[in-house]
């Protein structure tokens, strides 16, 4: 009887209990959300929004569509094998006249010129010389007379490619690819194919800087983790000091040090080691030195926090079990620092990928990284599509790296968690 009573009580309270739990939890969740809401909104507007916008701009292609709507409609069913029919020519003439009236012809001309060098001239000369809408049936002839380019198939495929509303044109360009006249993806012409080199250079510089940071940072982090607190605090201040100095100041300091009449060259000359000043700046060497200096704390701090967690008892245990110091370091200490090495390297590498100011100031023309070109296209030539596409490719590479790292760390986590 007591049993029946108990189970009955359980059955009747089960649902309300869950609901009460949810209600209690909900209040807490709402409070927690309210606390992070300002940051969430801030990130949404200043981070997630712009990134989404950039990704959208990389494929957005509506300029030509807005200026030449009738032409785009007429070309919709064109197979691209021969020149389009008379209707398309008539539509183009009508679009050009309309665009001339509203002054929007330059917008289409700029976009089409990206895809086909000289298109701006074709469009502006046609716009200038086209007096009125040609008689029905003569549009093809009239336009052909004004600019013979209208008799070329390429001119028309370029318009069709740019018909939007979305395009892979910028993304392909960012990878040194383009579509030929038949719509197949082919390598871009050598004079336009620069981005693969730039990406390769960006990755190479980032890798070199990461390796340098690791080589220089590992012993420092080890010292920080093993010195007695007093001295390790002092050392930590030295590590953090550059952190508190402006990036620009630190980069300029390297210019002062490394230039041909700089401190380093003068000292070496005075010591009689060199006769001619060494070229230490405005080349790859300068870029690597300055970037390594700036990014070193980002390597040291994750390494340090990883090493701090490794109990000195492990090395003692290894020694007592017969391992010489080098073996103990390689087999016991180093494997336990791997998560720290991974975190530090990933941090430095990803930060280095996006570096702009430092290579721009201390690098030569052949040392400019991808950010330089993104900045160039956004601020100088206003080619937002290409800038966004380059950014998107960089973002993709970074996300892939982060995912790979996440996978590696996940594999590592099983090993950790010593009870100490």
């Amino acid at each position: 009887m007591t049993d029946a009573l108990l189970t009955g009580a359980n059955a009747s309270t089960e649902v309300p209990l869950k609901r009460r739990l949810r209600r209690a939890e909900r209040t807490r969740q709402v409070k927690a959300l309210a606390l992070v809401l300002p940051l969430l909104l801030f990130l949404l507007f200043t981070f997630a929004g712009p990134i989404a916008g950039m990704l959208w701009r990389a494929v957005d292609d509506r300029e030509v569509r807005q200026v030449l709507p009738q032409t785009i409609a007429a070309l919709a069913n064109w197979d691209g094998r021969d020149l389009p029919d008379e209707k398309a020519f008539a539509a183009l003439a009508s679009d050009i006249l309309a665009a001339r009236a509203t002054g929007t012809i330059a917008i289409a001309a700029k976009r089409l010129n990206y895809a086909l060098n000289g298109f701006r001239t074709i469009l502006t000369s046609t716009s200038r010389n086209l007096k009125a809408q040609p008689e029905p049936g003569t549009a093809r002839e009239t336009l052909g007379k004004i600019n013979p380019a209208w008799r070329e198939r390429t001119t028309w495929t370029t318009i069709k490619d740019a018909s939007g509303p979305m395009t892979g044109f910028y993304l392909l360009a960012a990878l040194d690819l383009t579509r030929n006249v038949d719509g197949a993806i082919v390598a871009a012409s050598p004079d336009q194919a620069i981005y693969r080199d730039v990406f390769a250079r960006t990755f190479l510089i980032s890798l070199s800087v990461t390796a340098l940071c690791l080589i220089l940072g590992f012993p420092v982090a080890y010292l920080l983790a093993t010195l007695p607190p007093g001295r390790s605090n002092l050392l930590m201040i030295f590590v953090l000091l550059p952190f508190w100095t402006s990036l620009l100041v630190r980069t300029c300091a390297w210019i002062v040090l490394l230039q041909s009449k700089g401190v380093v060259n003068d000292s070496l000359h005075w010591l009689g080691i060199i006769d001619e000043p060494l070229r230490l700046i405005y080349n790859r060497f300068g870029v690597c030195v300055a970037m390594t200096h700036v990014l070193l704390p980002f390597m040291i701090l994750p390494l340090y926090s990883g090493m701090k967690a490794i109990s000195p008892a492990y090395m003692r245990a290894a020694a007592s079990l017969g391992a010489p110091p080098v073996t103990a370091f390689l087999r016991i200490y180093l494997p336990q620092t791997l998560p720290g090495i991974g975190a530090g390297s990933l941090l430095v590498f990803i930060l280095a990928l996006g570096y702009y100011i430092t290579p721009a100031l201390v690098g030569g023309a052949a040392d400019q990284m991808i950010s330089y070109f993104i900045a160039l296209y956004t601020t100088e030539t206003a080619n937002w599509g290409l800038a966004s596409a380059l950014g998107a490719v960089l973002l993709l590479a970074t996300v892939l790296l982060a995912l790979v790292y996440g996978k590696l760390v996940q594999g590592q986590q099983v090993t950790g968690g010593m009870k100490n």
Partner: protein, 383 residues
């Protein structure tokens, strides 16, 4: 190391005039001379800061003696690095390598010695069988309980057959029940494998349970080295008497000394006869030490025996297998007497306690007498 090769009762380890200081001002270990025999289980026992762990670390090679020499199998090892000493060690927090599996942890000392694969495999399996953890060979240390980790640490320190195994408070992190179980297991391993163990602890009951001999450390000096029962029954000074087991202290002055016994006038009034263990002579102040279980409580002051003191009951504490009476004796208000709990008739009649009162017959504030034999009362150096 064949038994026939060495002289009888060989010392496996010999500390000779060892001194150690960390700051150059204060000696942590003062003139340590200690011999550890082959096959024995010796415990270094002492409060924290007494120098016992430093001594162990010097033996392991993690600390260098400031002065003196340590011999391992007659070979000086002061300048031998830890990894060449062939000494296994079990650490307080086990120090199992978190990135290696249990089997890899145990195989580590074999693989750094480049033992061939098949033999290493065989010895690792044997070690896993010994600690009954064959099924957990591929787990990581983080997935094991404290007791399991402790067993693995033990197996790892034994698998390469070291000459000597050091244990630095290995059971400190375990709960009481598990600690007692592990004490038995370690003791059993010691007996079946015939290994030499140097064990460090601050827990005197652990030391008494496990050791062949105990070295009691205090203030950087070994106060006494002896078998557990000898330490308990015949402490050489007040520190050892108080550190090992429960004890009652009465301060007094020596009146007369006669052979092994002396008559002591208590500071709180009265006089008793005690064994003269560590007194300089008549007129010297001394502290008397009496174990709680060697005292009987009697209702009146008449009766035989030289030691009979008035006492006032403060209260009684029931502890299951026994009971404690807290008395006020000669100015000591925390004088403990161990009693049979009430209504128990199993007392032996040859015990001086056979006529002792039971705890349930004592009332707080009651005036009684205590009595104990002269041989159970030790006159030691004043505290």
């Amino acid at each position: 190391m064949e038994a026939g090769m060495v002289t009888p009762a060989p010392a496996l380890v010999r500390f000779s005039g060892i001194q150690k200081t960390y700051d150059g001002e204060h000696l942590v270990v003062k003139n340590l001379d200690l011999e550890i025999r082959k096959g024995e289980f010796i415990t270094l026992l002492g409060p924290s800061g007494s120098g016992k762990t430093t001594t162990l670390m010097m033996l392991a090679g993690f600390e260098v003696p400031t002065h003196g020499e340590i011999y391992l199998a007659e070979r000086p090892i002061k300048n031998v690095p830890p990894h060449k000493r062939d000494i296994g060690m079990v650490f307080q927090n086990y120090a199992l390598f978190p990135h290696l599996t249990i089997a890899e942890n145990i195989a580590f000392p074999l693989s750094v010695r480049k033992t061939n694969k098949a033999e290493a495999q065989e010895r690792v399996s044997a070690a896993l069988r010994m600690i009954k953890m064959e099924t957990l060979a591929h787990r990581r240390p983080g997935q094991l309980s404290g007791g399991q980790q402790q067993r693995v640490a033990l197996a790892r320190a034994l698998v390469f057959n070291p000459q000597l195994v050091l244990m630095d408070e290995p059971l400190g992190a375990l709960d009481k029940r598990l600690r007692e179980q592990m004490q038995m297991e370690i003791k059993q391993l010691h007996e079946t494998m015939g290994i030499t163990v140097v064990y460090v602890t601050h827990d005197q009951s652990e030391a008494l349970t496990m050791s062949d001999r105990i070295a009691v450390f205090n203030d950087g000096i070994v106060q006494q080295i002896d078998r557990p029962d000898a330490l308990y029954e015949h402490p050489v000074n007040s520190f050892v008497a108080h550190f090992i087991g429960e004890n009652n202290v009465l301060a007094g002055t020596v009146e007369t000394v006669e052979k092994d016994y002396c008559r002591v006038a208590l500071a709180g009034g009265g006089a008793v006869t005690a064994r003269a263990v560590n007194v300089s002579g008549a007129g010297a102040s001394t502290s008397l030490s009496v174990r709680p279980e060697r005292i009987a409580i009697v209702p009146d002051g008449t009766g035989e025996g030289p030691n009979r003191l008035p006492a006032k009951v403060q209260n009684t504490i029931y502890l299951g297998d026994h009971a404690l009476a807290v008395l006020d004796v000669a100015g000591n208000g925390e004088f403990m007497v161990k009693l049979q709990p009430g209504a128990h008739d199993g007392l032996r009649h040859d015990s001086p306690r056979h006529d002792s009162l039971r705890h349930d017959s004592l009332r707080p504030g009651e005036n009684v007498f205590i009595t104990f034999r002269p041989e159970d009362c030790l006159a030691l150096d004043p505290v």
